[in-house]
Symmetry: C2
Subunit: 691 residues, 2 copies
Amino acid sequence: MADGVEEQLIAMRGFLDGEVAQRRLDRLASHFSEENILKEEQLSREVCAKLIRRSVNSSVLASLMAGCYPADREKIFNFFINRPDLETPVEIAKTEHRELVYMQLTALVNEGGVNAMKYLMEDPARYFTIMEAVGFIDVSLGIKFGVQFSLWGGSVVNLGTQKHRDKYLEGISNLKYPGCFAMTELHHGSNVQGIQTTATFDRMTDEFVINTPNEGATKWWIGNAAVHGKIASVFARLQLPSPDSHLDTDMGVHAFIVPLRSMEDHSVLPGIEIRDCGYKVGLNGVDNGALRFHNVRIPRDNLLNRFGDVSRDGEYSSTLPTINKRFAATLGELVGGRVGLAYGSVGVLKAACTIAIRYSLIRQQFGPPNKEEISILDYQSQQQKLMPMLSSAYAFNFATEYLVERYAEMKRTHDDDIVADVHALSAGLKAYITSYTAKSLNTCRESCGGHGYAAVNRFGSLRNDHDIFQTFEGDNTVLLQQVAGDLLKQYKRKFEGGALSVTWTYLRDSMTTYLSQTNPVVTHREGYSHLRDPRFQLDAFQYRTARLLHTAALRLRKHSKRLGSFGAWNRCLNHLLTLAESHIESVILAKFTEAIERCEDRNTRKVLNMLRDLYALDRIWKDIGTYRNQDYIAPNKAKAIHRLVEYLSFELKGVAGSLVDGFGIPDVLLRAPIGLQSGQYTEYSHHIGFE
Amino acid sequence: MADGVEEQLIAMRGFLDGEVAQRRLDRLASHFSEENILKEEQLSREVCAKLIRRSVNSSVLASLMAGCYPADREKIFNFFINRPDLETPVEIAKTEHRELVYMQLTALVNEGGVNAMKYLMEDPARYFTIMEAVGFIDVSLGIKFGVQFSLWGGSVVNLGTQKHRDKYLEGISNLKYPGCFAMTELHHGSNVQGIQTTATFDRMTDEFVINTPNEGATKWWIGNAAVHGKIASVFARLQLPSPDSHLDTDMGVHAFIVPLRSMEDHSVLPGIEIRDCGYKVGLNGVDNGALRFHNVRIPRDNLLNRFGDVSRDGEYSSTLPTINKRFAATLGELVGGRVGLAYGSVGVLKAACTIAIRYSLIRQQFGPPNKEEISILDYQSQQQKLMPMLSSAYAFNFATEYLVERYAEMKRTHDDDIVADVHALSAGLKAYITSYTAKSLNTCRESCGGHGYAAVNRFGSLRNDHDIFQTFEGDNTVLLQQVAGDLLKQYKRKFEGGALSVTWTYLRDSMTTYLSQTNPVVTHREGYSHLRDPRFQLDAFQYRTARLLHTAALRLRKHSKRLGSFGAWNRCLNHLLTLAESHIESVILAKFTEAIERCEDRNTRKVLNMLRDLYALDRIWKDIGTYRNQDYIAPNKAKAIHRLVEYLSFELKGVAGSLVDGFGIPDVLLRAPIGLQSGQYTEYSHHIGFE
């Protein structure tokens, strides 16, 4: 071997710090020689990096990442690119922001030709593509859009019947009826069954009478209520007068259409009190309000009666036998909101990654003595902050695409198993992804230092706007418990010999593996090809989930005897939340792996594999205590995983620029000067008025 | 034993889930019986909780936590409580916010009788008490205060000589000279040695000529520059014309006093270009600007000449031999800013904890079937989010008090060892605490759900204002490297037989321990009294630090041969950052333990011990992978630690209300309706206009 090559090989070996080096080199060599593209001397780090760079084709990536409706996305982008008058300025007061977002929405509908309700009902994937795209214009617009169509529109479509659709659908679509979704109350958010607003049937007049019985029952945070909303679907306890008593019978939570403001002059209607919820941490382009009702009368027809109806005589009827079943059906229809948030959260993560990574590539600070400064992405610490995040954005992209497909399938088939699957999946992905994105936005700001703190560079508004994604449409801590609950149901079913729903089939195998001993050979394997094998990675994720599930079931059973089921659940709550996250992580990994297999471009597959490996190994390393505690992973294997995480982060930073280009966010929408494709500093200086 | 008691004992045993239960009960029993306050039947959880509650005296805590100058804190609070006209509204535009904060500052000085420069020079502890207190009014005010006095004033006092103090000090104190600290440039923040602004001596006129040679050299983020500043201390490379060449000699970075605006009409002076850095993520009450200099001439006397001077003939003189030593001395004097930020960050954490915990106590959601809803702080998940945070706020309080003491000692003695110690300590505590607080602010918002998203409830502004604490006065990632560098210096010294500075003496012992085998008996000990023994906790922290230090030194030596010292450092960067954090955590734990020993009230000590245990064990648990990987902690011991963390969080939530009362933040300054001591919901409803 020539001296130079030897030196390079030694250099690489040094990098890997250990005995694995030789094996890794052998593996790399065989890997590349299989493909006949490499001679030995090309194994140096620089050459590897070049090779990877060569293999990344941003436009292949972009078309892979653009989703099922790239043309719709493009159309939305172009509409706003051509309307700079609608661009949200860097600093804007609440009042002006609300008006601007409303103008953006009306322009989209009236001039942009978007018929959101049609897509929502006929083609959810298209609907979510558009919702994500408008989020790039202004997150407030995405949410205003969601309030009007997913929530207010969705409640009419999903909880109402044909008469409601006939009456309201067109006005919802064309914004003649800007509306609200009035569920949350001052005292009750997560616990919807605890809401206290009442809708009492008055047989005399054939009306419902809506009332706010106490301060805690004030509807709160109602989007569109403070300024623009004319109507609301109000969630209230249906009270039916009993024929043989003076007391009303509480039939549980139902939704009612309640006009709030006059269609003519927009004045607030009698009996209705509206207050402005005021300035928020973010999303100030959305006008949230608080509502109180004082004997507000609505016709009987305004009950959204798909799951329960009241006759002229005050008789209640339903195809569903119990209050709990009706409640579950009612809330179940609203799962689309979660799908939209999970999908939109990935969009926010992509935008933040793009800005942070582009800036980290041009920002230079310090360097070797008497040499040029190096880019901050050349620092191991910066790679550690941003590269696993980039891999997660890719991973989440494929997972949420899968979720949207499953959701569309559910809407098409109404198959019970798919319904259950989509419920748990949307809860889990929404919770996991929005929590991850929220944390990442902080990391992005911090990793971009002072210039990350300029509002124009977007991290502040993205973080503030996105923050509440963790809470609305289901608090993340509550949603993860739903996932855990579903897993436990599946677990029970497994032992009762029943079928598992699709996303959970892995549990059968891994449970068997878990219940047997861990394999001591695998525990110690630390070779490069083994660690990068998706089967090892998936097995590690699924082993952890299976183990957490099994132990959770045992602990719950033990504690229930003494504490009751509620007490036992609370005693194991941290355990259950970890279980849910573990499950979701393995679903994401599985979907990422499947998406890579479907990718036809060989070079792109290679880079995606690196991203997938980093996603998986970084998470295994972050939870290494669990794996070590069970001796699933031996100490030296743990170290090898850590080294590989650092190495993959190092390798990927060489193509990080192309990988964020793959997200396909146009500069003019991204807006952040430090996040542009070129000329960042100059644009940034221009922004504050230097010539 | 009576049946009821037996049942309660079993209940407790059940809680602890394992074999440790009996030992714990024995221990608890002996512990309490020692104090003769308990009979056996009082061992139930409820009784335990009551006991703890009884032992917490908020006013004892409050006086313990109020620092050395409670009267000054009180005076500041009262001044602003009596000036509601100076209160920052929930929504305020940048321009108005800047004016309001300036009014707050001038009122404080002119009417509140605060002579900040006097305290800064004579009694730093008093200065920091006041700076922290004004941060409760508005974080922007705390920073505006810091810019004027610590930075601009500090540069004159610490880098200048008597002539500068005579000329400027009074005007700085009484705000006749609002000033700036112009160090950072567009291209250089952390790497101050890379700044490019020049100050060329002109022997003909006995002046320095200040220039901005290129776009990247634009001074950026300069506080007070956009609106209020009249003068600045400008950091620039001193250029001296060489007698025998046409080239100037670069003497390195020095600070110069440069007038920016006319003292008469506030117009910008010739040759100076000022731009507004614009809207920021937070701190919009501070007016940051960008500066460019075009042949701006200043008299030779305007060089802040404590560490280097230029004679009339253009001869350079200094008591320090090299550019690097002068640079270190110059930057070294600015360490006070870090002390202030660490101290102020704890104040922000206390405010956020107070709001989040008080709300979590009154917020109820869900509950056992057919029973009342329970408070969200009754959930294990909420305890896990907030109780370790509360324990950290207490821990940080004592650590930063210690830092302030050491800083004052340094200022008094100028002892070299103390200087080195304070430098590393202030860097480490600033980085560690501000990162922790930044993360906690997100957790607080998220854990308070929708109502945490109302701007009036403060999490948004606290987070946005505090965010940049992670970056300014030294980027956290850079500061932690300084700590790691200092540790490695100490490590080297140890092996060369020299003395260790005070904060590091533990390394000698633990290094010896580490280099021997871990003790297999201790590895398996999992008893309650052992885990709650501060000696075990500190040993675990110090073992980890010693081990990380030892392995870092070995790795650096190995990599240096091939990669050079810069490359080796970067190759080990994640390792080094972990090392620095580990060290700082052990310093915090040690200071917490010492503070508890000094506390004379026995009952208070008991509660503080619980907080200390939670602080320590939670961190050990979070890093359990490291401990497991070295078998420092056996698997069952790891589980016992986790159980104890959950149990301590559970126990502490019973007294969490009193513990946040101990922070002593008046309701009227805390402002957040959901964080008030009582009547939260009603106040919150009033805020949005309901009667």
